[in-house]
Structure formats: C-alpha cells, structure tokens
Symmetry: C2
Subunit: 130 residues, 2 copies
DNA sequence: TGTATTCCTACCAAAAAGGTAGTATAATAC
DNA sequence: GTATTATACTACCTTTTTGGTAGGAATACA
C-alpha cells in the first residue's frame, strides 16, 4: 500500500507546474529541483515516464522547460500516479486474473478496495489542491 | 499501492479458519498449506505476526493448530492486514508528519486517500466475504 | 516416549527502490 | 556560428524490501 518517491515527486512537479501555469513561460527542472530540494538527475528520469504520450509541453534550450498542456482541472491525480508508478491496483490478480477460481474469498475484497482507490484518485485533479 | 504475499496469505489463512470455524476443532497450518498450495514454512513465519497479542486460539501438539477466538464478523480485514503488512498508509508523511510544511499540496490528497483506504478495509470483516 | 504440532532464530537470493554519471541532442541568444 | 542552457538517452550502482528456506527447540497429547 505504498506510493514511492516516483509518485510523490511526480505530484510535486505537477503541482509546481500547475501553480506556475502560464502560457508565457516554461519551467525548467532545475528550477523545480532547486526549489523543492530534490535531485535534478532523478527528476529527469521521472520525467521520462511522466511525459509519455506528450503529456506536457516541452521546450529545450535557453528559457526552455516544461509547461502544462491542459488546465490543472484536466489533470487527474490518478493519471499522474499511473504514469510513473504503473498500475495502482493493490494486487496483481485484479488485472492478471485470479488463479484460485471461485473459491477465493479474498478476490471480491480486493476488487472493492481497488475500485475505492481508483475512483478516489481519478476523481481528484490538480485544481482540487492548489 | 501494493499488498504483498504476506497480506494475501494472511487473508487466505483467516478465511480458511473462518470457513472452518468450530469450537470443536483446531486447524493446523499443515492442513492450510496443503489445501492452498502454499509454503508451510512461510506461513509459519507469517503466523508470528498474525498471532501477535493472542489474536487467535492456539494449541500445540497432536490435533493442535489455530482457531478463531472471536466470530468472523469481529475480525476486520484492516486489522488482519495491518498485523502482517504493518501500517497501510500510502505515504510515510501521514504518520511521521510532513516535512514540507504548509506549502505541500500533496499532503491533503494523501490524507484523503489514506482515509478512503483505511475506512474501507476497517469496515469489512471476514463475515462479509464467506 | 513417540509423534504432531507450534515457536524461535538464522540465513539467503532475487527484485524493486532510489538514486548517480556521462554523453548526445536541440533550441535560443548573442 | 558558437556558447549556453535546456531536455533526452543510456548505463550503472547501492540499499532496502520481498519472498522465501532451513534447522532445531518447546509443548501437548495419545
């Protein structure tokens, strides 16, 4: 039941971008890592996943960096976490199927928990916490 | 966001004990590991945590084993999982406190998620799934 | 006293988490 | 057109966690 540094830092980055959301400016990872006291190199690696499918606007070079592509209210927390942490289900059998068949009493519980978690994170957006 | 084998096997054990709940009989770990196809030695180790604070009735020796001490409806899933997996909060800052102070926008989200998860698992009991 | 059981301690291998390091590539300012 | 400031890519590495195995001691009962 854990969200690791990848998920936490990804949220830190996204909240930073959301707080500084302006079509006029790109925010560099250096600025974020300096302000938040996080490893620049590690954030760079997290960005590889976070920016899959062109999730953000990017600009290289001088005054470059990252910028939200949509409004904060259009970025769900669930989507962000999944980008960097992978699937959020509490156990594998939710996606890969249960090998124990009908007799498994745990499965319905895990399904319920899975729904609870995912519907919560998918219904929250960056805008809800700024 | 993971429940590992410890948590899953602990539930398997508890559902097994609940399904075979009778004051007349103790269920041995051997019987459970055989029926469920799990490592006896590994289950033994899980029992060390699962039975902390005399959570179950135990009897050593011939025809010994484990037995529920209370009725299935009085064992919450949350309690069981916490015994073997430790705290269920998605991030450490929930219990150890947030080091980022008031500016942390992630914290309220994590608090919400933590409440969601814990109230779900604490309101479900073994009896709900038998 | 033999057998079936839990209890306790120690060890161990594989995987995941949490990074660091170096270089290539691109965009812009001058 | 070149120096500077960014991201992008590739490789490596250490520590912690996970998921076990192994062996013997203690206990209860037949």
């Amino acid at each position: 039941m854990r969200i690791g540094t990848r998920g936490r830092y990804a949220l830190t980055i996204m909240f930073y971008l959301a707080s500084n959301y302006s079509k006029e400016r790109y925010v560099s990872l250096k600025e974020i890592s300096d302000n938040e006291g996080l490893s620049f190199k590690y954030l760079e690696k997290i960005m590889v996943d976070l920016n899959k499918d062109n999730y953000l606007d990017v600009q290289r070079g001088n005054n470059g960096g990252y910028r939200l592509k949509k409004e904060p209210k259009d970025y769900s927390i669930g989507e962000i976490l999944r980008k960097v942490e992978g699937d959020l289900s509490p156990v594998d059998c939710i996606n890969k199927g249960c090998s124990r068949g009908k007799k498994c009493m745990s499965y319905p519980f895990f399904e319920g928990l899975n729904n609870e978690i995912n519907s919560f994170v998918d219904n929250k957006t960056l805008a809800d916490y700024i």
